[in-house]
């Protein structure tokens, strides 16, 4: 188990390196100027790559890799209502630390998770990435982005879209997610079926 986790972490790091080398279009150069100046490298590009990697983990169903992107005290949160400011003590659609994420992983991969028997897949597209805050001393970041996710399950297509806010913490192996807030524009509607994995 521990060994598997280490391998997963390594593979995430490797993909990060490959991602950085990918050709990039001109994007929000001025917005990142400050970040660049303060720490000598392109923070925006780095966090974009992290968000894309996270999306790839979900679409590739690499659940352990997804969990590894979170700090050891990290939380994945989808509020029940947009006006909520914390998941503490209020209903949430997701409010999961890494232990609960591990429960979800183990369920999803259990041979008798019956509803996993039908073919399903997702496609995430992430955009509008902006750095909202950067702590010059610690390197911690607050990053806002938009996502569009299409899911195909059991011969039915569903769409989920909304915003992410990632609170990132700088660690020795790059940024880790301390808190990811997911606000779906269609979160309050009735759900045709449910959400089995993170969005």
């Amino acid at each position: 188990m521990a060994r598997k986790a280490r391998t997963a972490r390594k593979s995430v790091a490797r993909k990060g390196a490959a991602g950085k080398a990918a050709p990039r279009k001109r994007m929000a150069a001025t917005a990142t100027a400050a970040a660049k100046a303060s720490n000598g490298h392109d923070t925006l590009r780095e966090v974009e790559q992290l968000l894309y990697r996270q999306a790839e983990c979900l679409d590739g169903k690499r659940w352990q890799d997804f969990i590894e992107l979170f700090a050891s005290d990290g939380t994945y949160w989808m509020p029940a209502a947009p006006e909520q400011t914390t998941g503490e003590g209020v209903p949430s659609i997701f409010w999961e630390d890494r232990d609960l994420m591990t429960v979800r992983l183990k369920r999803l991969t259990h041979p008798r998770a019956w509803s996993q028997r039908t073919a399903w897949g997702t496609n995430h597209v992430i955009g509008n990435v902006t750095i909202e805050r950067e702590d010059a001393r610690s390197g911690d970041l607050v990053v806002r982005s938009r996502f569009h996710m299409m899911e195909f399950r059991n011969d039915t297509t569903r769409h989920f879209a909304g915003s992410y806010v990632h609170h990132l913490k700088r660690t020795r192996d790059g940024h880790r997610i301390r808190l990811q807030r997911v606000d779906m524009v269609n979160a309050q509607g009735p759900y045709e079926y449910v959400l089995q994995a993170w969005v």
């Binding site: 209903p91 949430s92 998770a113 449910v194």
Partner: protein
């Protein structure tokens, strides 16, 4: 040869099996709307959803769009969400406050929060017509009857039938158990409603609620997953929150569910007894018991906390999990589509930790990211598809049939996994479909 019963609801139900058409025939579904949902008491909402004068929540009873609204004298009214002029719905949103009164967005007829018409613009236009301002047919039509039990509001579209309390019968324990667990004797709503639609007939949901034969099978994956992480946490010297136990209990081996018991009451209401360790000896529970003892005295507190209920089913539209203060209201949308509205309540006067403990269950089991209902809903869809097929005519409820202990007021199953609750529900179904109230 396939048995075709048409709309013959008498032939459809036998004591130990029912014909598949009761789940799949759109004609029978229409009869159910008329003979069951237009008659019974339907759960509308909790009084605390509309705390202020003019607050409203829209809700569906059977096929009817309704609105629950708080009137100036603090009474709660349940009205048809329909303008008496040309029939527009008065509210297209889910909830809010009517402000100065109910105003129709089409031609501005105005109403008070009890449905009475206050003003019709340019009412000269009605002079000499058959419509007289002030007539009852200028008022918003109200539900035939409205009742409230310990803050839970019900309405019936039929003027005849038993009172709410008589209709609830012994199953009113759902609300007594929930409210008594509050040191102040009442609960208030947590203002979030999760809504989940299942692609199946409404009865499949109700039958599943007290089906203790299924958790060990359907929810094995989640039960085991939670159990493993729970163990891992304690191996590392930590203490997993009770939420893990709520989930891991689903993997309780199938043989153990027999130790529980189901009770069937008149009108299809049922109870599944037994619960999964809701009274641990942790500091949170002990602090709660202190507050409870202060409010009720030791003996009464023991009685209250000793109530042994898992689920109460109020047939045909409500499933209550009183020890966790949660309920699911069932709104049939069509023969093969059913909406559930899922609510959580706070025990007034109880410590925050007790609310949070139940909240863990609400988030993990009852939210749209549920790790439990995901597999139930999958089964419901598969059941419905199977029952649309001609692969067989009958649905079997033979398990422990003929072994139930029956008195006039209660039918008790011999074992927890008996199909007695389903038989009890169909007994009521038959009575309603044959014209009973």
């Amino acid at each position: 040869m396939a048995v075709d019963i048409g709309l013959d609801v008498v032939r459809a139900v036998e004591p130990d099996r029912v014909h598949r058409s009761v789940y799949s025939d759109p004609g029978i579904f229409e009869l159910e709307m008329e003979r069951i949902f237009n008659k019974v008491w339907t759960y509308v909402g909790h009084e605390s959803q509309v705390p202020n004068v003019g607050d409203y929540w829209t809700v569906q009873i059977g096929r009817q769009p309704m609105v629950m609204v708080r009137h100036a004298d603090r009474s709660v009214h349940v009205l048809y969400n329909r303008c008496p002029h040309r029939g527009a719905m008065l509210y297209g949103d889910r909830c809010g406050n009517v402000g100065k009164g109910i105003i129709c967005s089409y031609h501005s007829w105005q109403f008070d929060t009890d449905g009475s018409c206050k003003a019709i613009p340019l009412d000269k236009g009605y002079q000499g017509t058959r419509l007289t301002p002030g007539d009852d047919n200028t008022n918003i039509k109200a539900a035939a009857r409205v009742g409230s039990y310990r803050g839970f509001v019900f309405a019936s579209l039929s003027a005849d039938g038993p009172s709410l309390v008589d209709w609830l019968g012994p199953a009113k324990v759902a609300f007594d158990d929930m409210c008594d667990r509050a040191p102040e004797g009442e609960v208030e709503v947590v203002p979030t409603c999760f809504r989940v639609i299942q692609q199946s007939n409404w009865k499949i949901f109700l039958e599943n609620q007290l089906d203790s034969l299924h958790p060990a099978v359907t929810h094995e994956s989640t039960g085991r997953a939670a159990g493993e992480v729970e163990e891992e946490i304690s191996r590392k010297g930590g203490h997993a929150p009770l939420s893990y136990h709520f989930l891991s209990a689903f993997a309780t081996p199938i043989t153990k569910w027999d130790a529980f018991q189901t009770l069937g009451y008149p009108r299809g209401h049922c109870i599944l007894t037994g619960y999964m360790g809701l009274r641990p000896r942790d500091p949170d529970t002990l602090a709660y018991e202190k507050v409870m003892e202060k409010a009720y005295g030791k003996q009464r507190m023991e009685e209250i906390l000793g109530v042994n209920i898992h689920h109460v089913l109020l047939y045909p539209g409500l499933s209550v999990q009183s020890p966790l203060q949660q309920l699911r209201a069932v709104r049939p949308l069509g023969v093969d589509r059913t909406l559930t509205e899922i609510w959580h309540f706070r025990l007034k006067g109880a410590p925050e930790a007790i609310y949070r403990r139940a909240l863990g269950y609400y988030n993990l089991v009852n939210s749209p990211s549920t790790m439990v209902n995901a597999d139930d809903l999958w089964n419901f869809w598969k059941c419905h598809k199977g029952l649309e097929s001609e692969g067989g005519d009958w649905v079997s409820f033979h398990r422990n049939a003929g072994q139930d202990h029956e008195t006039k007021e209660v039918t008790t199953s011999v074992i927890g996994t008996s199909e007695q609750p389903m038989r009890n529900q169909f007994k009521a179904w038959t009575q309603y479909m044959n014209g009973a109230h």
